[in-house]
């Protein structure tokens, strides 16, 4: 599944050093669970995003392993501390080997 996958991330543009910020991420993905059947009774093969990571300047913030029980368009909200200005990097790993990523800059004053 490579069509229509679009990551969306919400990160504040500015923060104070050491401040806790809230990050929201969403990626459009059908997350086919491998439990559903098509009209002919054949199982639709599993096709999900199986891992999501968020890093800031190369240091890890959160690393999530996803199972088929995570909803369509996986959504995560979590908190991070930013010691200095830099860039958040968000990465999603698909079952089919595709990797989707996006980055957001943040200025720390």
């Amino acid at each position: 599944m490579a069509s229509g996958v679009k990551p969306r991330v919400k990160v504040p543009k500015k923060a104070a050093a050491g401040e806790t910020i809230t990050i929201k991420t969403l990626i459009s993905h059908k997350m086919e669970s491998g439990q559903r059947k098509d009209d002919d009774g054949n199982v639709i093969p599993r096709s999900i995003i199986n891992r999501f990571t968020a890093d800031f300047n190369g240091e890890n913030v959160i690393d999530v392993v996803l199972e088929p029980a995570v909803s369509t368009n996986p959504y995560f909200q979590f908190e991070a501390v930013v010691p200095e200005s830099g860039e958040f990097k968000f990465t999603w790993y698909d079952d089919d080997g595709s990797v989707y990523d996006t980055a957001k800059k943040i200025t720390v004053s």
Binding site: V61, Y75, V82
Partner: protein, 140 residues
């Protein structure tokens, strides 16, 4: 084997116990196995972590779940009524501000959502929430 009245009675009470046990959600044992695989059968404390889930979810396809587990290194969510009990595992890195996160999950039917936190000292904490699901999220 000759069936005496005594043996029959013993048999009867045995099936009764079985019947009471099987009134638990059908996949509960799967969840127990999955939890045991994670914790290695270690004792689990309760009360240190909070799991926020709706009491009633109208749509089992997207049920909002949040947890807050101060001092946890890793949090795993399970849904004991799903065909596959594992839901997601969250590992926290050095720059995470709090050991909390929220996401949306699928629930096949009315069931318990269980969060197991592996604390930084290696012990385990558990929290459980029952969610009533009106329309299941596993599709037929």
């Amino acid at each position: 084997m000759e069936m005496t009245r005594r043996k029959l009675l013993a048999l009867g009470s045995g099936t009764f116990v079985l019947a009471t046990l099987s009134s638990l959600p059908a996949f509960a044992t799967l969840t127990d196995d999955a939890i045991a695989a994670l914790t290695g059968g270690a004792d689990m404390g309760e009360g240190a972590i909070t799991l926020t889930a709706p009491e009633i979810a109208e749509n089992g396809n997207t049920v909002p779940i949040a947890f807050d587990a101060p001092g946890a290194a890793e949090v795993t969510l399970f849904a004991d009524g799903n065909p596959v009990p594992n839901v997601a595992t969250f590992k926290f890195g050095p720059l995470s501000a709090s050991r909390s996160a929220s996401t949306r999950i699928r629930l096949a039917t009315t069931q318990n959502v269980v969060a197991i936190a592996k604390m930084e000292d290696g012990s385990f904490q558990m929290a459980k929430a029952n969610v009533k699901v009106t329309i299941g999220g596993c599709g037929g």
